[in-house]
Symmetry: D2
Subunit: 378 residues, 4 copies
């Protein structure tokens, strides 16, 4: 049996999530290759060693370059802060490694394009961690749309709202600094719903016009709470969009939306029905079909179960529930089987680039207060 040997760089919030998924994936899914947790990098040798032990990796280092250069590593898994994605990915690609990167792919569409083109030229496989589309419930939504069950989609409304910066007293962190994060809520959150909209509709966004605001303009300096520092990117943004297939859409995002803990949601209206979903109830999809008996019409709450995509590997009873990390486990299955088979994975760097380009186009449209064609950017 083939091996897929992982080199993990970064072990924070999302790196740990990858580690949990690596741990459970081989038991949950019949993988097409043996998953080997080979090498791990963190910023100090001590932290790297500790995390390697916690996560079950064979070796560790304080230099990400070691991982990239290691001949026993097949895939570079990038879980670092966003501003490092590009350098690591380009180095890995240069070494002929496959690359599995967290989102957003890069701080700008231009950088994302460079990464995508490098990967394409090198012929390496890529995957971007838009894990929410791996949820069986959202896969089911995609299936319902692709089947034509709700007719032709005529409107997409999507949000990714959270409230992690709702409190004005929360000190400034890297999310608020352009050089570290690029965009604000658009880059950190809207990336997910923009990508998900394309996945669900099977069509790309081509025109956008947005509006945005930095509501909390200053925040305490974390090193000196009495000093206020400028917030450099948007707290919230909204955009009207048009997809290639002509469908209208609205995207909303905020990092100060009080009460939204995981406010990734969509309402998809078709000519024959409607689907609604919120990630805070990640096992439920609401489906309305207009051709039902008029006296018995209504939104039906589907609980994801073994008859829906990828659910039965977690549990053979319906309605028992999938968790956040399980989505990443599906992604790891796609990664391992993709590398093993040599087939392109989805969503790859091309999709990651497309998303970055849309986000940059939205930002540009906000500044210039006009509709922007997505391909004007990068």
């Amino acid at each position: 049996m083939k091996k897929v040997r992982i080199g993990l760089i970064g072990t924070g919030y999302i790196g740990r999530c990858h580690a949990i998924a690596y741990a459970q994936a081989p038991t949950v899914f019949p993988l097409e290759a043996k998953l080997e947790l080979e090498y791990l990098a963190e910023i100090t040798p001590e932290l790297a060693a500790q995390k390697a032990k916690e996560f079950g990796f064979n070796r560790s280092t304080a230099h990400w370059q070691d991982v990239v250069n290691d001949p026993n590593v097949d895939v570079i898994d990038i879980c670092t802060p966003n501003f490092l994605h590009k350098d690591i990915a380009l180095a890995a690609i240069a070494k002929g490694k496959h690359v599995y990167s967290e989102k957003p792919l890069a701080l700008t569409a231009r950088d994302a394009k460079e990464m995508y083109e490098a990967a394409q030229q090198a012929g390496v496989l890529t995957l971007v961690g838009f894990n929410y589309i791996k949820n069986p419930t959202t896969q089911l939504a995609r299936e319902i749309i692709a089947n034509g069950e709700i007719g032709e989609v005529v409107h997409f409304y999507g949000t990714h709202n959270e409230d992690y910066l709702a409190n004005p007293n929360t000190p400034l962190d890297w999310h608020c600094i352009k050089e570290k994060a690029g965009l604000g809520a658009l880059g950190d959150l809207a990336a997910h719903i923009v990508q998900m909209s394309q996945y669900l509709l099977g069509s790309d966004i081509k025109q956008v016009i947005g509006d945005k605001e930095t509501v909390i303009k200053q925040r305490p300096n974390p090193q000196n709470l009495t000093e206020l520092l400028a917030v450099e990117n948007e707290d919230q943004a909204t955009a009207l969009v048009r997809f290639e297939n002509g469908c209208m859409g609205t995207i909303e995002t905020s990092r100060i939306a009080c009460g939204r803990k995981m406010g990734l949601s969509y309402v998809i209206t078709g000519t024959k029905g409607t689907l609604t979903y919120t990630q805070e109830r990640m096992a439920e999809l609401k489906l309305y079909l207009h051709d039902d008996d008029p006296a018995r019409q209504g939104f039906k709450t589907l609980l994801t179960g073994p008859l829906h995509p990828d659910y039965k590997n977690f549990c053979v009873s319906a309605g028992h529930g999938i968790g956040f990390n399980d989505q990443k486990t599906v992604e790891i299955r796609d990664l391992v089987n993709g590398i093993a088979s040599g087939k392109a994975m989805y969503p790859d760097f091309e999709e990651g680039f497309k998303v970055s380009r849309i986000l940059d186009a939205i930002a540009l449209s906000c500044e210039q207060k006009r509709w922007v064609e997505v391909d004007e950017v990068a």
Copy 2:
């Protein structure tokens, strides 16, 4: 005790709703004047007589001019198709009558302005039937916002979606003809959520950019179902808006939104909390307060009750429920007490004009694909 003598013109869908409200208002509320159902007009003498009997009016006629000219009528209540609002209102104002008109005030902002200015010059009182803002639940939302309980409002998301034209086989009716209806979903539905947004925030919309689509471009001729006629206005529209106070907003409307039977809804995000509401659950308001104990945060479902505005007149127990017609009953209370006291009512023709102007601005922005200042229009 004073009398307020009503002259009702039109007895269809909304006229009948007025009649139900007139019937129950004096029992529900302590009115400041005696409500007299004086005169009623319909298109034939027979229908007028029948409706007068059903609705409890003293007299009837087949000529709306009779009602307008009658010395025993104090208020002209206009429940006709939209395209007649203007002529009737102007005639009534010319006679010094107070005017209570259904929404939208007119087919265009220009017409609405003429009506508003005529009423202002004549010194008559006016009221426009935006009845959903009279629901105790939405009054409560207004109170919570005005109290500052959710801080400063930073985002408004509102919809008025229905599905009454979702079926492409539904024959063309007056809603789809510009000369009869003016705008499509914008005029018929979005009028409510636009007005409600201004009521809730206490601030007017000043800039807009929209997008719209006539999804079902042709419909059967009701006289000859094998023939297809063009639909002349939009099935759905979306707009980004900015309020005078700087708050960002999004407005969505559709008359083909499968599954939405009364999809008037709002999500209002403040710096300290969030409110959400949908008219399909008209007795519930969800409130999130960010300053709650972090381990006990969440959206709280308030059921409207006697401690909230105008509810206790219907029932002294909480959670027992208000119905559609009860909103109109509150409006009738405002009408009778307003006329009795001679004080300006809300929302009046000025507000009706403002709403028309915003809707026209959205339509213009869709056509010109650019941000439009509301005061560019009319």
Copy 3:
């Protein structure tokens, strides 16, 4: 056209609700007789006169006997405290009047039986104010069950929980005194869900075993808050029941159920589907059908609309909402048309007696800690 002349006795909480319904019924429904608000009694002449004016009654008195004896009154409408129901009803029946009584019909099953038998012998028509079954949504539930859409019903779970006495500092009132109220939560609240269960299933309860508790054993004397008086009846009760058709059931009731403002609810399980409802969302019925495609199964939320019983008279658009008083308006329609046609109404004194008997049987089963046959009682 015939007249139905009403004599109303009592104008408190529920009397006022009747008055609102009387006011709107002739506009909402095409009635088979002219409704005449003839005579009204309250405890003082002044209050009676004031209420007659407010409610639009022709005449008033401080003696309920005047109303009962009046030749121009056809129907005695009893809205007094429960302990007076019997005397008034028997006096009215003796005078050959039809009787419309609020629930519970009497303080004991024995009294209720006497009233039912008197009415039967006198050949007068009767109606008991179990208004919640008049809600279009619950009528729809009845229709779905009667159609066999959920198969054979195998389990009924019903509650009527409220929290009006949840606060232990609320002073003792008549609800807590046996001589005034009879049973506690059972009589005041469970009466509704017990009756509704029989209406929905089309089968009577025949065996019961219950449990109950007076949780708050003493309350302040309203005349002297420092003194504590004994609460004489139950705060909460639960019963297992069996219907005539063999169906199992559970009934729960409480007047101290924190958070329940109108906690009348049911879950009805059949061999082919399930229905769920709560009165706090009185326009929604949830329906599950087991024969749906297994990959598309789920509870569907039906919003009541014009295709459902009695809704279109209030509004011709679906999902616009029915309120608490509208249920009573349907009941008044049944009253007027029933009296006009001389046909038996539902639920009548026989049903009111059956409900009292079941409640007494539950109380007996609690005391004797054993299953009780309903016909052991009274």
Copy 4:
């Protein structure tokens, strides 16, 4: 570092769930011992070998006795059909092994008692797989109750309803045969809600009276679908209960409850508030507090997050969701740390026995149609 060496017997539905939890536990939690997946038994050598590979176990066998007798195994994990629990547990205890058994502990309370007493005498540690109480959301409910936040609990309503046998054409399987399963829905499902009620209230059930029904009395023989075989145990049951602390309760269970996929739910009413939960929305707890401002009262939807028990080990952001297997992962943490520290775990065989005794008492009360003291049984 100590080792905890697992011997797993049975790899079906629940055995596989254990395997997934074993795989992820060391990455999710900092365990106090090294978890060693040592030995696995299945009914054939081939299946055992295959499952050992899939689940990552070192060795395998076709004889459960080999696992029980193996000196390198510390804990016997019993995931076999219910009727084998007793023999395996007693054999394991006789060898001084710790035992981790799935629920229900045994087919009868008598057997469960024998197992509990044997473990007690041998001084081995035990754990029963009532995994739903390990959900952070239900742990939070327990914490809220224990804190007194909802006052003194006065009523418990709990269900465990599913619909896996709702279709009458589903062939007879072991669940329906007394010798294999013992009780029907009571044993398979109600075991969970009965145990959970005791966990949540911190008080044991002491008196019960129930009712039950085998609704579908015959099912097709799986070997010959044209033949019908008798169903030997109940499809649904309901019981009134009293806890040691006097609290009233109701327990409902069904395996034919159309639409319930994971219908484990509770409504817990206290003197100062109420909690509601359903496992189908396993990340939400609804909390009502009666002392809130009366004009702002309502049920608050808490989304489980890092401030709640055991959540942050899965994800540091609130509302991101816990899945079914994650509950088992918490249970494995308890197992490993319990064995490592030598401290009693919860819920242990004593609790498993108590639950069996309550279920047998309910069955007895149904047959004898009377209240039964739980300690009358076994």
